[in-house]
Amino acid sequence: MAEMMKGNEAIAEAAVRAGARFYAGYPITPSSEIMEYLSWRMAEVGGSFVQAESELAGINMVIGASACGVRALTASSGPGISLKQEGISTLCDEGLPAVVITQVRYGNGLGTLFTAQCDYNRETRGGGQGDYRCIVLCPSSVQEFVDLMLPAYELSEKYRIVVVMMGEGTLGQMMEPVTLPDFVETKRTPWALTGKYDYKKIGIFERDSRKEAVELREKYAAIKENEQRWFDEGVEDADYVFVAYGVPGRATLGAIRELRAEGEKVGLIRPITAWPFPEKAFAKINPACKGVITVEENATGQLVDDAALYIKKTHKDRNIPAYALTYVYNTPPIRSIKADYHRIKNGEVKEVY
């Protein structure tokens, strides 16, 4: 039965039920309730919790726990996730699974506490040094966030990759009805360090980057082929297709349904995986579509780059314009999205691409 839960607490409980047995992190608004909850909850299920001295230490503790084969978690936001990037790169390099939750808040540098989507580029491009990607899941409700925690761990172990749960401040702070999943039983990963050297890990001095590059390309190609997730509605006959994820994706769904009722031929693609980007959804878009429109909680437009790239790839013979509606921070109201749609339709907004 569904009960009202605060997002961060429901997410933390879902992580435990998905088998997470180690958490290390550092407090930051708007994600702190995840660690507060796990500070007592981990002990109840035989797991471990460390309030780390920094985000750097937190992600490196996750590296240690993951290397020993335990489902490990850290959560943070904005600048905290920046500090974790070296560790995330290391996890990907070592082929160690982990789930990193970011409840995105707005701003550069220290930033603000407003809910936002300003870190899309960092999460989807591999934010640290090197040549890697993380799988990025971007739920639009507390329930969807909860339901994606187990798939997040399963994906991270299947591909030995980091999965970033790209939330928003809103998703952590709001209360919604939630049905929690059952507990899963987990065992240590086959590549766990046990002290017995029963898994012969290849040392850094024996590694062959050219050979690994082939494997890496194959892995990322498999992820792109098999793991795209999205929600779409009304794209086959749409004149304009909105692209929006997370809570703005929900607001946009409300907007397109009202617009449809008013006779406008509009559709929505709501990515659930921001990487791999749901290219397959774009293939469904009406060949006569007049434009794609992203709805984003940031200043400069980040999602629009991918929307433009994939509409170009899937509709090669046509130069379909890509527009960005950027609302900086906070979830845009349906009425704003509708009003801005009409401005685009009337030619008052210049396309980005």
């Binding site: 780390a52 230490a57 590296i63 020993c68 560790g87 290391t90 017995k196 898994y199 890990k201």
Partner: protein
């Protein structure tokens, strides 16, 4: 008369390691492996390994090991130990890794009294990158980033971390400093390492052994002169001995 002992390679070492002639790392890594063998822990050991010359340890070992981000071995060791409380976790780091870039992780692991063992090879400089100044560089010591000699008035004074652990962290189980300058000191150091490992095995808490180790290449000295430098210059500032013995109450 001591019986002639057969020279054998410790079971956990499978290849030669690439340390410079006259370096102390090889002696220390051998002592660790011998101690593990004598404590019957060859199948119960994970090494989180630092960045720098200490990285070379990983090249020669046949056991569980993970190279950590520079300075973060204290945090990685924490994560490993929390999920594997009965497995020995021994971080192997240099002074630059453990103290310069890693002081937050090193300090906080000791502060939380993680049940891990930390081995720090203190050669008073960043060996791997060409002998730059580190937190343990002696006052007046010339390095590639202190070409006129370390000026402590603007760079701070050489850090004595095991003493900080012994003095400030009541829960810590064991803190010592040894060196490799002669057989007597090497034997003493092996005893320190065994004490540290035994403390961890008994879940007594945090243990650290720092080792004064020669770096002839970067010091610009012959191996023999480098050993003499440790005796004459370093030991007077960095005393060898046990600063916190096992089972000892905090002073």
């Amino acid at each position: 008369m001591a019986a002639t002992r057969e020279r054998k390679v410790p079971a956990l070492v499978d290849k030669p390691m690439d340390f410079c002639p006259g370096c102390g790392h090889g002696i220390v890594s051998r002592l660790i492996m011998e101690a593990l063998e004598e404590l019957d822990q060859l199948d119960n050991i994970i090494f989180p390994i630092g960045v720098g010359c200490s990285s070379n340890l990983g090249a020669g070992l046949e056991c569980d090991r993970l190279h950590c981000c520079h300075g973060r071995a204290g945090a990685v060791a924490t994560g490993m130990k929390r999920v594997s409380p009965d497995t020995l976790v021994v971080s192997y780091q240099g002074d630059g890794d453990a103290y310069n870039i890693g002081i937050a992780e090193t300090f906080n692991a000791a502060y939380r009294n993680e049940n891990i063992t930390v081995i720090v090879i203190n050669n008073t400089n960043f060996g791997m990158t060409g002998g730059q100044m580190s937190l343990t560089t002696m006052e007046g010591q010339k390095t590639s980033t202190s070409i006129y000699g370390r000026d402590c008035s603007v760079t701070g004074y050489p850090i004595r971390f095991p003493e900080i652990v012994a003095r400030e962290f009541p829960g810590a189980a064991y803190a010592a400093r040894g060196t490799v300058t002669n057989p007597a000191n090497i034997n003493k150091l092996k005893g320190y390492i065994k004490n540290a490992l035994q403390a961890q095995l008994n879940h007594e808490g945090y243990s650290i052994v720092e080792v004064l180790s020669p770096c002839p290449i970067n010091w610009g000295l012959t191996p023999v002169k480098a050993m003499e430098r440790i005796e004459k210059e370093l030991i007077p500032y960095y005393p060898i001995g046990e600063f916190k013995k096992r089972g000892e109450e905090q002073k």
